[in-house]
Symmetry: C2
Subunit: 309 residues, 2 copies
Amino acid sequence: MTSLSLPPTVTIVEVGPRDGFQMEAVFIPTDVKIATINAIAAAGVRKTEATSFVNPKVIPQMRDASDVMRGIARRAGATFTALVPNVRGAEQAVAAGVDAVRQVICVTETYNRRNVGMSVDQSVANLAAIRAAAGSTPVELVIALAFGCPLEGPVEPDAVVRLAGRAIEMGIREISIADSIGLAGPEQVGAMMRLLQHTFGGIAWSLHLHDTRGLGLANVLAGLDQGVTTFDASIGGLGGCPVVPGATGNIATEDLVHMLDGMGIATGIDIEALMHATRLAQAELGRAFPAKVLSAGTTSSVFARAATH
Amino acid sequence: MTSLSLPPTVTIVEVGPRDGFQMEAVFIPTDVKIATINAIAAAGVRKTEATSFVNPKVIPQMRDASDVMRGIARRAGATFTALVPNVRGAEQAVAAGVDAVRQVICVTETYNRRNVGMSVDQSVANLAAIRAAAGSTPVELVIALAFGCPLEGPVEPDAVVRLAGRAIEMGIREISIADSIGLAGPEQVGAMMRLLQHTFGGIAWSLHLHDTRGLGLANVLAGLDQGVTTFDASIGGLGGCPVVPGATGNIATEDLVHMLDGMGIATGIDIEALMHATRLAQAELGRAFPAKVLSAGTTSSVFARAATH
């Protein structure tokens, strides 16, 4: 019998303002977006994916990307990134003052073409062009569908290694491995991160996990056990599941912070302050969010109430 | 960096027909209960908590306990247990042909009095009386609120050890450690099972976990890592959460089997057949169930669809 190997600290990348908000049909006013992002950073989140510099005709929700980036109150220790699909987006993002840009490439050819209309080779060339355009602003890669594809089925871990290798060759140092539709389990997550870390040194790996099949936090545990210390998560569990209405997509930041708090792993995030940020978005969107701790409350809050009995 | 320590096989105790059904306000017809239990056993579940021999005035849903037990189609390798609160219930359960009876004791004094109107000492005496009444039928103990109590707050692991020790002294050999309102995280589950197994030999420990705060399957992983090989779960994720409407209570059997399938851990359960059983209950109850795999489908089914593209 072993015990899990656990790191002392974890960095959470809050992707709700991009990955979550972009799924919303009704436009969220720019000031609500900014207030939510400011509250997220005030809660102690060190890195927030604030918006996406995409064609506003394709994703109208993100048409205020520059205004959002420029409107965020900067504070020490908090960085803000944006998703960019191309050089034009990267230039706009850099001009608006992002701390880093992220590009997504699907590891499977069929889905990447459907998603961005490019072959994987074209997307890799695009990544190189984005890197050139971004200048000194770091460029990060998200490898989507790393654990399986709805069109191509299972993904060979070696395919992820090859795509990561091409990005690393061009100087990318931060790579997020995404289980974009929640197909992975702890064994797959553990094996993938073991393989990647064994193959490449000096890379800041992160995991982007979905809770589609209830495995989100179990997969985080498997990642932690392999020494992964950076995880994407989304306030309220927003976003990430375009197909099944009401189903959980991204792991909820509240649930992740709550788990890590209970394990004595520091995130720097005040969970009650984070839930305040989430409720700013919730007040605008006017519906229940999937995050469980948001409705059930933290274990600490249950114990605090018990103490007053 | 370590790797998780994993057992080759796991036994799932299906508690939905008792723990799930008893929460339902509308009476589920006896033949629907029996058909669901038969389908659960046909799916390969080796142990099912089929009903509860309680005062029908307290829990009218379980008033057909004897008819359910007598109506189940017995098959090789499938056993059926019942919850009993007292000697009278144990006698009825044994007469109806159960393979084992289970009693629940809350580890915290205040909640045990609220739950069954007895002190913990009285419940322990009751357990001894049940054991005498059950004769050669095995008696199992569920230690509820083992990871915290809504009235008393945190629970010292030593309190669980002491209660377990009193049951073991009287010859109980199967003990389920229950996180009845989903307060535990992987660290607490791991530490508790390590402590119990270190203190007592020869006991068949099981874990009864809730997904109230999204930690259900992560906690299973922590239990597996400590060598625990028996887990309670409930079809559809039914039951176990009387307080928050719509919130998840018990971990869903479908989600648990799906995780274990993905880890190569054998349960003997055919997940598609299990979901057929769940849908028998769902057709009667006419609402969505919390189990995620039930709506999202298994990873294997996603891959099978991809293969036909």
